[in-house]
C-alpha cells in the first residue's frame, strides 16, 4: 500500500451564522490539507468542500451546506477575509495558513 507521506499543510476553517450547528457546534476547525488531491492537481476549495462534507460534517443534512456539488446559495465564503469571488471561487488553490470562513446568511434576525 502507498505510504502516508503525502505532504500536507494546515489551514483553519471557520463556520458561523448557524453553520457551526452542522459541524458539532464547533466554529473553528484546523484542517490538514494534502498538497495534491487524488487526481494530482493542487487542492482547491472544491476539494475542501467535499472533504468537509464527507469527513468533518457530523450532521446528515448535507444539503444545508452543499447543493448540486457546490456551496449552497446563501452561504458566503471568505478566503483570508476576502470574498471568494475575488479569488477564483471554488478553483482557488489552498495555501498554508489560509483562513477560510463559511458564513450562512440564511437565518432570522
Amino acid at each position: 500500500m502507498a505510504s502516508n507521506t503525502i505532504p500536507s499543510f494546515p489551514i483553519t476553517v471557520e463556520f458561523t451564522g448557524g453553520l457551526e450547528l452542522l459541524f458539532s457546534n464547533q466554529r473553528k476547525h484546523n484542517i490538514q490539507v494534502p498538497e495534491q488531491d487524488s487526481s494530482g492537481a493542487k487542492t482547491n476549495i472544491s476539494w475542501l468542500v467535499d472533504h468537509l462534507c464527507n469527513n468533518v460534517m457530523k450532521d446528515s443534512r448535507k444539503d444545508m451546506f452543499v447543493l448540486h456539488n457546490s456551496v449552497r446559495p446563501g452561504i458566503l465564503v471568505l478566503i483570508n477575509d476576502a470574498d471568494w469571488e475575488l479569488e477564483g471561487e471554488s478553483n482557488y488553490e489552498l495555501q498554508k495558513g489560509d483562513s477560510i470562513l463559511f458564513v450562512s446568511t440564511l437565518h432570522g434576525g
Binding site: L67, H68, N69, S70
Partner: protein, 369 residues
C-alpha cells in the same frame, strides 16, 4: 401520460374507463378532450359568430412557436371555427398564423422546416406567415437581401451588449413580442391569441416581477387592451401546462408530430449554474409546483391578474415600449439605489427600471425604433 392503472370509470360519462386524473377527477380520453376544448372555447365568447357582422372578417393573429401550447390552441380553435361555420353558415373569426424564426435558441433550422411543412399540411385553411426576429428593425417594406442582413447584424450587436444569458434571453423575448405586434397591426388583426397556459402565465408573473417589471404585468398577462395598440387574449389561461401535454398526446389529430421534441422535455435540470436564465428558473419552479400543487398555480394567475393597469405615462421605454412616468425611468430614480447623486431631471433616461437591468444605457442606439 398518466394512466392510473386503477380501472376507474370516468367521472363525467361513467361509461368509459378513465385514462388519467385531472384535478382529482378521473376522466376518459374523450371527456378529457372535451374538458380541454371547453376551457379554451369558453374564453372566446367575444368571438362568437353573432358578434361579428356579416361580411366582416374578424382577424386574429395566432403566433406559432411549435411548442405544445400554441399548437394545441391552433387545433382547438380550428375545430371551433369549423363548428361555427357548420352551425351558423359563417365563422365568428379567422386565424392568421405567424412563426418567428431566430427567436428560439435551440431548435435547429432543419427541424423547423419539417414542422412547418407538416403544419401547413394539417391546417391549410389558415394563412401562414414567417418572419425573422430581426424584422423588428425593418422600417419600411424593403425586404431585399441587404437590409435583411443589416437588420440581423444590428440584432446581434444588441444581443452582444447584454452581459448575461438572462439579459440576452430577455431581449429576445421583448423583441419577439414587438415583432409579433408589429406584424399583427400591419395585417389589421383585431387581436393576438397567445397560447400561454396557466403555468406559463404564473412563470411570467414571477419572472417579470424578478426583472423589475412588475408595473407592466397587467398588460402582459390579462385579456384586453395593451399599450401596444392591439388587444391580447390568452384563451389557454385556465389550462395547466401538464394538462396540455396530455392533451397533445391524446387528441385524434396528430399534434405530437407538429410539436418540437424539446417541448416535451421537462426543464428539470438542476439550476446551479450562473448562466441560466430567470425565465428558465421560473419554468423549473412551476413545473414542480404544478405537479403537487396545481391549484396554487391557478391561484397565482387568478389573483395577480386582478392588478389594474397603471395610469398611462407619457413616455415610453425604448426597449419594452411600455408607458412609464418619469419616475419609473432608469434605475437612479428610485430610493432603492440610495445614491444621492443621481440625475434629478431624469431627462436623459429612456429605459424603464426593468429594461435598464437588461441593457446598458449605451446600447439604446442599437435598439429598433
Amino acid at each position: 401520460m398518466t394512466t392510473n392503472g386503477l380501472s376507474r370509470p370516468c367521472k363525467r360519462c361513467n361509461a368509459h374507463e378513465a385514462a388519467l386524473v385531472v384535478r382529482n377527477e378521473p376522466l376518459c380520453r374523450s371527456c378529457f378532450t372535451i374538458y380541454i376544448n371547453t376551457k379554451i372555447i369558453k374564453r372566446m365568447e367575444a368571438f362568437r359568430t353573432r358578434n361579428s357582422a356579416e361580411g366582416h372578417r374578424r382577424k386574429l393573429l395566432l403566433p406559432i412557436s411549435f411548442g405544445v401550447s400554441s399548437t394545441c390552441l391552433l387545433d382547438v380553435l380550428s375545430r371551433h371555427i369549423k363548428q361555427q361555420q357548420d352551425r351558423n353558415g359563417r365563422p365568428g373569426y379567422s386565424l392568421i398564423l405567424l412563426h418567428v424564426t431566430g427567436a428560439s435558441l435551440s431548435t435547429s433550422a432543419g427541424e423547423e422546416d419539417k414542422n412547418i411543412e407538416k403544419l401547413k399540411e394539417a391546417y391549410p385553411q389558415h394563412p401562414y406567415f414567417e418572419l425573422d426576429l430581426s424584422s423588428v428593425y425593418d422600417s419600411g417594406r424593403s425586404l431585399d437581401q441587404g437590409s435583411q442582413e443589416e437588420a440581423a447584424f444590428k440584432l446581434q450587436r444588441l444581443l452582444d451588449s447584454a452581459s448575461s444569458a438572462t439579459s440576452r434571453s430577455d431581449i429576445v423575448s421583448v423583441l419577439l413580442t414587438r415583432a409579433i405586434v408589429k406584424f399583427a397591426i400591419a395585417h389589421e388583426c383585431e387581436g393576438i391569441l397567445w397560447g400561454d397556459s396557466t403555468t406559463k402565465l404564473a412563470e411570467k408573473i414571477l419572472a417579470e416581477s424578478a426583472k423589475g417589471r412588475g408595473f407592466s404585468l397587467p398588460w402582459q398577462v390579462t385579456d384586453g387592451e395593451t399599450p401596444y395598440g392591439i388587444n391580447f387574449y390568452f384563451p389557454v389561461r385556465e389550462v395547466l401546462k401538464k394538462e396540455l401535454l396530455d392533451f397533445a398526446k391524446m387528441t385524434d389529430s396528430r399534434l405530437v408530430d407538429l410539436i418540437s421534441d424539446e417541448a416535451f422535455t421537462p426543464a428539470q435540470a438542476p439550476v446551479s449554474s450562473k448562466n441560466t436564465t430567470i425565465d428558465l428558473l421560473m419554468k423549473q419552479y412551476f413545473e414542480s409546483v404544478e405537479e403537487s400543487y396545481p391549484s396554487i398555480v391557478s391561484n397565482v394567475v387568478r389573483t395577480s391578474t386582478k392588478l389594474q393597469p397603471s395610469v398611462v405615462g407619457l413616455r415610453r421605454c425604448k426597449l419594452c415600449t411600455h408607458p412609464v412616468t418619469k419616475e419609473q425611468l432608469g434605475i437612479e430614480s428610485w430610493e432603492g439605489t440610495q445614491d444621492s447623486e443621481k440625475d434629478p431631471s431624469g431627462d436623459k433616461l429612456e429605459l424603464c427600471y426593468g429594461c435598464s437591468r437588461t441593457i446598458p444605457e449605451s446600447a439604446i442606439p442599437l435598439l429598433p425604433r
